[in-house]
Structure formats: structure tokens, C-alpha cells
Symmetry: C2
Subunit: 334 residues, 2 copies
């Protein structure tokens, strides 16, 4: 087996984020009418997307999508690699592909020529900085096994997958194919659980994945508790220990915990002014995985993740506004 | 003559901004190759827009356009009114129209069905917060006299026009028609000079406009010096005095000066961390004109403009991230 050419390939739903400020009352009203749950992601169809957009405040458009954000952050640290995700052949798709390439990320997934437009995520940011996401998947659901480039996966140290892919059958098959290819090549598979409701929807599948197919797991406290239907974080943490090589669990202002074998490494949170939490988990994974692919110790990996997450919650949008490579020295000194 | 229904109608090139960070070296290199001048706006064609975009870093998309930004800020203060500007019937055009309506601004200009896409402004933001703008006008140039709604103009206290409209013959005719309609109705015409290079291109026209057709003039120091081909700001300020009812001249960290008859009112700048100067002049005009339409004294008008400009330079993008109505109390207490 030759040395991998790439540090990482990330696979996910390619979505353009539309971020707008929102009052607490608006979310409460939407919860009552449409079951919108603050701080989580829900899937919506195109009709509902048009309707909700019409009610939203003026927005900012930025490339998003969980694994896409992680790949962009990973590249900002200096990691090299590729992204697999499907946009349409339209203006928002062009924006998405531009932003990936501008970060130095290979993104050669064939855009969808006919059918749904590029998917988008309508993100409502409340005054406390929390984001509530409403995703119209659009073209992103057309990602299929045909888009999974075996050579690319085979040549990357890590294949990173988002749990959201499990929401559609075709993308789920693509996910499974990619994980298989990565392991066949002797490389690692990383997974983010994405969202507690996503975990609810796919608990049995995700438990099986974590135990048998995933090497590095990312989750936040709510997601890992949901996965094991645990009462407390401590319970859930004990349950995940040993199930995969590494589990990195983020706990907002309580920092994060890295579980590797019987080792529990606690990483403190950094002081931060929270403007918009969109992308916090994604950028934690970016920092962690960058450190990991460069052979750094787990504590430094976790610190890199924390620094990246702290940067991204300080401004609107899910991707870096600074070069994350500048954080490396800071993490190594910590 | 009945009381005007609207506070203001703004007319300009409807553009979506694509904001990206840029190094000083990139601008210097572009200056050498393509004559890009830091801190100014230059017009580019579609081919060049595609080429430049490919070289830019990952971006943020937001509705922009000088007069559009002013109208959005004006509405954020609580002013009511309309915007006239042309987008195409495409995704970016949809974004633009959404953002106007979301601010409570009437924007009924018929989108261009066939031909150029929605115009965009590629904005390069250097580490010092300065923005260098490259505008592909796209559909916005198709604005013509047919789009100038006589009833709307006739029913607004102020018709606000951007100098950039003079860059295309058809838009210039639309500009002239709107100014005539406003005066025929006994209402005021406001103009922003837009950019020193724009002033260079249309000096004779602008001198005539200021002397004979404009009631309220907005310019920054460079623009007013360029207009009168003066040596110093003081010279230019003396030359503009009395040419129109009010001239409001912004001077960055030196604050602004309001010239009304033989009165010179100096408004100090506010302390600010500069992230991105895009929209500073536009939001100064928004604050000033909001105060003016509400019958506030000129010093308070200038302070409102300063507070809005200070807000907008503290973040990426040319439009408010807060409700400007919250600034009114602060200005009145100043």
C-alpha cells in the first residue's frame, strides 16, 4: 500500500446557507405552526422553503453543508483533499463550487443538469447566537454511488461522512460504498452524527456504524445521549468508549472530551463572544482531523478543534473568516 | 398637493455583492495586470467577472448596490419607501428581491426575463478593511425610463439617486426622468456622487446636476475634491456651499461636514473597529435622510448617518446587521 495522496475526503449534502437574524418569537411561532425546533435541523420541501424564505429577514448567502464546512476548515488549516457533494448547474451551485475550489479543495462531483436546484439551508439565528436550520435538500439528494470516486477515497487518509446522508436512501448507499472503499484501502472512516433528531431517525443504523464501521466519531452531547438513549453525558460517554478508535464529543461551554480506548481527555472551552453557532461542530471536526492527519497528539487535535469552533461562532456563517493555519502555533503552545 | 405617502424612493444599480478577503499583494498584482485601483469601483464585463471570481477567495453573497443599501438602511431606521432597480429572473435576482421586501421596502421593478444575469459586484476586502469593487452590471443596466414609476416618485418626499446610474445611457435617462418627476411634484432630489472615478467620468454632468437639479448631495472627501478639481477639502467645501440646499460630505475618521447655506456643521467620527468599509457611505446617507424625512435638525441627521456607517463597517457586508431604529435614541442623546 502506497502512502495516501490526500489527507481527507469529505462527503455530504452540498447546501448553500441562507443566514438571517430571527426573533425568539418567530421561532416559537414556527414551532407552533410547523414544528420548528430551536437549535436543530429539520428537512423541508421546496414549497415550504419558498414559504419560509418569504417570511425571513434579509439574509447572507454562504456555502455550507456540514461535511463541506469541515472540509473548508480542514483546508484552511493547510490540509489537502477533496469534497464529494452534489449541487445543481445553477448560480448557487456555481457559488458552492467556487468556494470549495477557492479553499484549495478538489470538488469534481458532476452538477445536476436537470431537475432540482442547488439545495439550501435556511438558518435562523436568534439573539443568543443559536441557529435553527431548515434544509431543502434540492440537488444534493441526487448524490449516489456513481459519484463516489474509488480512486479518490482510496488515496485519502480519512474519509469523513455526515450522518445527514442517511436521510435519503441513495445518499445512504453512497455513504456505505465510500466507507467500504476506505476500509478496503486500509484507511480510516470518520463520522459526525450531525443532529440529535438525525440520530433519532437512524439510531439502529448509527449504532451499528459506530461499532463496526467507524474509526473516528464526532458528536455533541445531545447527539451521543440520543444515540445511546442515555440519561446523562457520563453514561453515554461510558457506552461509546471502546466502540470505535476515537470519539470526540463536544459540550459547548463545557469544552470537549476525547475518548480513546479507556483514556478520557478533557479539553476546556475557550472564552468566546457568540454571534452565530452555525458550523461550530463542523469546525471542531476540521481542527481535530487536521491535527490527527498530521500526527499530532489527541490533546493538540482537540485544542485545534476548539480554536476553530471558537473562531466560527464569533461571526455569521459556518466557514472560517481567517486562515486556520494561524491557529496551529497557538494550539501547540497550549 | 397632498402629503407624500412615502418617505423615500431610491433608484440604482441592483447588484449582489460577492465579498471575499484579499491580500494587499493580490490587489497590487491586479492593479498591474488590470488596472484595479484599491478602494475604488471599476466596471468589468462578464468574461472578466468570471475570470476574477475564479481567482478570488471563498465569498459571502449579500444584496448590495449603493442606493439599494441606502434604502435598506433607511427602512431599518423605520423609514418607508420603495426601490427601483433591475435584477434578472434568476436565483441571485430572487435573493435581491427577497432582501428588499424583507426590509419592508417596495421593490416592484420587473425583473429581466431574457438576457444578462443579475449584476454582481466582486468586492475584495483587504486586511485594513478597505474594499475594492469590481462591478459586472448584468441585468441592472436594463433599467430604463419605462421602469420609473411616476406615481411612486410623485408620492415620495425624497427621490434618491446614485451617480453610478450615469455610467449607462439608458439608466441616465431613467435618472433624469425620475429627478424631473420628483421636482414636478414639489419634492426633493438627493444624489450620491458614488466614487471619485465615477465623478471623473461625468464631471460636467454632475456639476450641472448639483447646481440645478439636486437638493441634497452626498459625497466623500475624494469625490467632492474630484468634482471641483480642487486641491484641498476646504477648497472643495467652499465651492459646493450654496450650490444645493444641503451637501453632506463624509471624511472617514475625520467625521463629516454638513453644508447648508453658509452654515458648516461638523459631526465627529465614532470610534470603530473596521472590518469592511463596504456600504459606509451608503449607510451614512441612510441615517442622514431618515432623520431629514422625520424633520430632525441637521446635526442629528448627521449623527444618525455616522452611527449607521459605524455599524456597517464593523462587519462584512454593506447592509445593517442590527435594527437601525435602535440608534435613534442614541443620536438624539448625542
Amino acid at each position: 500500500m502506497s502512502d495516501p495522496t490526500y489527507d481527507m475526503v469529505a462527503i455530504g449534502n452540498a447546501l448553500v446557507d441562507v443566514l438571517a437574524h430571527s426573533s425568539e418569537e418567530f421561532i416559537a411561532d414556527q414551532d407552533e405552526k410547523n414544528g420548528m425546533k430551536k437549535g436543530t435541523m429539520c428537512l423541508i420541501d421546496e414549497t415550504r422553503a419558498v414559504e419560509l424564505y418569504a417570511e425571513m429577514e434579509a439574509g447572507i448567502e454562504m456555502s455550507g453543508g456540514s461535511a463541506g464546512n469541515t472540509m473548508a476548515g480542514f483546508a484552511s488549516f493547510g490540509g489537502n483533499g477533496a469534497y464529494i457533494g452534489k449541487v445543481a448547474d445553477d448560480q448557487l451551485g456555481e457559488v458552492y463550487r467556487h468556494d470549495m475550489k477557492a479553499q484549495g479543495v478538489i470538488h469534481d462531483t458532476t452538477p445536476l443538469a436537470v431537475g432540482a436546484p442547488t439545495g439550501r439551508c435556511l438558518v435562523l439565528v436568534t439573539p443568543d447566537g443559536q441557529r435553527t436550520m431548515n434544509t431543502f435538500l434540492g440537488a444534493s439528494v441526487e448524490l449516489g454511488t456513481v459519484d463516489i470516486d474509488a480512486d479518490l477515497i482510496g488515496s485519502a487518509k480519512i474519509t469523513y461522512l455526515e450522518g445527514y446522508l442517511y436521510d435519503r436512501e441513495q445518499a445512504k448507499e453512497a455513504f456505505k460504498k465510500a466507507a467500504q472503499l476506505a476500509h478496503d484501502a486500509g484507511h480510516r472512516v470518520a463520522l459526525t452524527l450531525s443532529d440529535p433528531f438525525c440520530v433519532d431517525r437512524h439510531r439502529a443504523d448509527f449504532l451499528d456504524l459506530v461499532e463496526h464501521h467507524v474509526d473516528i466519531l464526532f458528536a455533541n452531547e445531545d447527539e451521543i445521549i440520543s444515540l445511546y438513549e442515555a440519561e446523562t453525558f457520563e453514561q453515554a460517554a461510558k457506552l461509546v468508549a471502546g466502540k470505535c478508535e476515537i470519539a470526540a464529543i463536544t459540550r459547548s461551554e463545557k469544552g470537549s472530551v476525547i475518548i480513546s480506548g479507556d483514556e478520557f481527555i478533557e479539553i476546556p472551552a475557550q472564552q468566546a463572544e457568540v454571534v452565530d453557532t452555525t458550523g461550530a461542530g463542523d469546525q471542531y471536526a476540521a481542527g481535530f482531523l487536521y491535527g490527527f492527519t498530521q500526527g499530532m497528539d489527541l490533546r493538540t487535535c482537540g485544542t485545534l478543534g476548539t480554536l476553530a469552533a471558537t473562531e466560527v461562532i464569533g461571526h455569521m456563517g459556518p466557514r472560517p473568516e481567517i486562515k486556520y493555519a494561524d491557529l496551529i502555533e497557538k494550539a501547540q503552545a497550549a
